[in-house]
Symmetry: C2
Subunit: 298 residues, 2 copies
């Protein structure tokens, strides 16, 4: 896999950075990018490729158990850049959602992870009351702020591309996420900046600047055309699409963000490809499109 | 088709309004909703169903010729609520796009149509410069304002759902469309409010109020889940999805808008259904979800 990238087929423009290359310093693999890998496989893949951080998901963590997962990651020397995911606040049983989010906070703390990503949730079936659903998100975040502070975990509200407003995330812009987050201390409630979700926003630069120290996670994937048929699997490999990673990365850098950069790609072709080859492509694309614009290392 | 709707299969909640029913007074059929119909078929369908207006598309108009199309529509007693579409300003040949838009303005004037809908255009292949493309749209609209005024046709900038930012419309919000329109007189450059494109926007109510007299067209279709696989054919029948037509229609009404309401649905199932049955469903859904919130007739 030296001459061509997976899965885009584009010729590689630069050599794949080797483990230890400073260009990989802040790269993190979000587990969903290699969805077929178990947690031990993902950890081993990161170590082999020289990726120093991992964004964990609750389901594969649960497969091995939280304590075992924490040991596995720590023994491998990996940072945990975030835990995905809490949230889903808009459904018919807010109390159950709250309890599940408390569990997620406990898991994040046990994993040594400082950030719980919150996917707000969509509209229940047949529901047309978008302002109502948004109000429920605000209430649920408020209820979770105290428990998060107690556990030393920051909540990251993830604004989602409007393609997901109906079924996944009623918080549709970074500005709206900040309106919610700013009701709480910055060290308790922040926002997630995911290039796929925010790139189209005419006000994205101003909103990233406004986010400032509230950016708890910077996630990257591309917007490709034609859009893949399954909206939930429509993200592209970094560099395959229309997103200006240089501009967005500089905007995030200029807030003072010094955290990891998670590659999170939901895409059937990426999932079908060989995991190690995907990681090689990620490392190369990250070094080409993102790392040069990140500024000082963490 | 009295007991069930096409194409949703939902039971009808109200009787299909008969021709002459005041509930249909401002309903317009956008031609793309019955994409398999020729212009003569669409005109006949409107007359039979008692739909008093039609939103024309340039391609089917060209099939019969502009003058013949104008006679056909006038003889049927139909209003022409809009002509779709000009725009596509962001490509490699702005001069050619300008000439084509002049032709579209001429066609609108000849058809007795006061509104030319502008679809801004997306990013050229391989292009990541979204601000640059947006600047090209602003320049192109400015160049078209004079010719539009001369012909007595209003330009309607259509903000498009962010699902189309990359490949169809770099103007992603109603606020952004208004920023462009407000550089020109309100009787020359306005905006199109299409429920599918704007419903997700946390600021949509304020932006519709800001639009005021600049709303040159109000178009309706629904956001359905799961989203159909072809992004360009992802619109749903009014009432089948998550859009709150009551709230959006009242907001448009409160600006003083007294124009027609175009049903514009790009959807493979709708296109495959019998045209007359689709029009019956449209009439019923419009009477149920939209007409009660429109206020005074035109």
């Amino acid at each position: 896999m030296t001459a061509r990238d997976v899965p885009s087929g584009d010729p590689a423009r630069i050599a794949t950075p080797r483990p230890g290359d400073p260009a990989l310093a802040r790269l993190s693999l979000n587990q969903r990018t290699t969805a077929r890998w178990s947690l031990p496989q993902a950890v081993a893949g990161c170590v082999e490729r020289g990726i120093g951080a991992i964004g964990l998901w609750r389901e594969p963590v649960a497969e091995v158990g939280t304590a075992a997962a924490a040991r596995l990651v720590a023994d491998a020397g990996l940072r945990v850049s975030s835990l995905c995911r809490g949230g889903f606040f808009t459904g018919p049983d807010p109390a159950a959602a709250h309890r599940d989010n408390l569990d997620a906070l406990d898991e994040a703390a046990a994993l040594g992870c400082e950030v719980l990503v919150l996917v707000p949730g969509g509209l229940p079936a047949g529901d047309r009351d978008l302002p109502g659903a948004r109000a429920r998100v605000a209430e649920a975040v408020a209820a979770l702020a105290g428990p998060a502070r107690e556990r030393g975990v920051r909540l990251g509200i993830e604004p989602m591309h409007p393609i997901y407003t109906a079924d996944r995330g009623v918080v549709a812009t970074l500005g709206q996420a900040l309106d919610l987050a700013e009701q709480h201390p910055a060290n308790v409630v922040g926002v997630v900046v995911d290039t796929f979700h925010v790139w189209w926003d005419p006000d994205v630069a101003e909103r990233i600047a406004r986010a400032g120290e509230r950016i708890v996670s910077y996630q990257i994937s591309d917007w490709i055309t034609p859009l893949p048929p399954d909206a939930l699997l429509s993200r592209g490999m970094v560099g395959d699409g229309h997103i200006d990673f240089a501009a967005l990365t500089r905007a995030v850098r200029d807030t003072g963000y010094r955290g990891d950069v998670e590659v999170e790609i939901f895409n059937a072709d990426v999932w079908a490809a060989d995991g190690a080859a995907v990681l090689a492509t990620i490392a190369r694309r990250y070094a080409e499109f993102v790392a040069p614009h990140l500024g000082a290392d963490r």
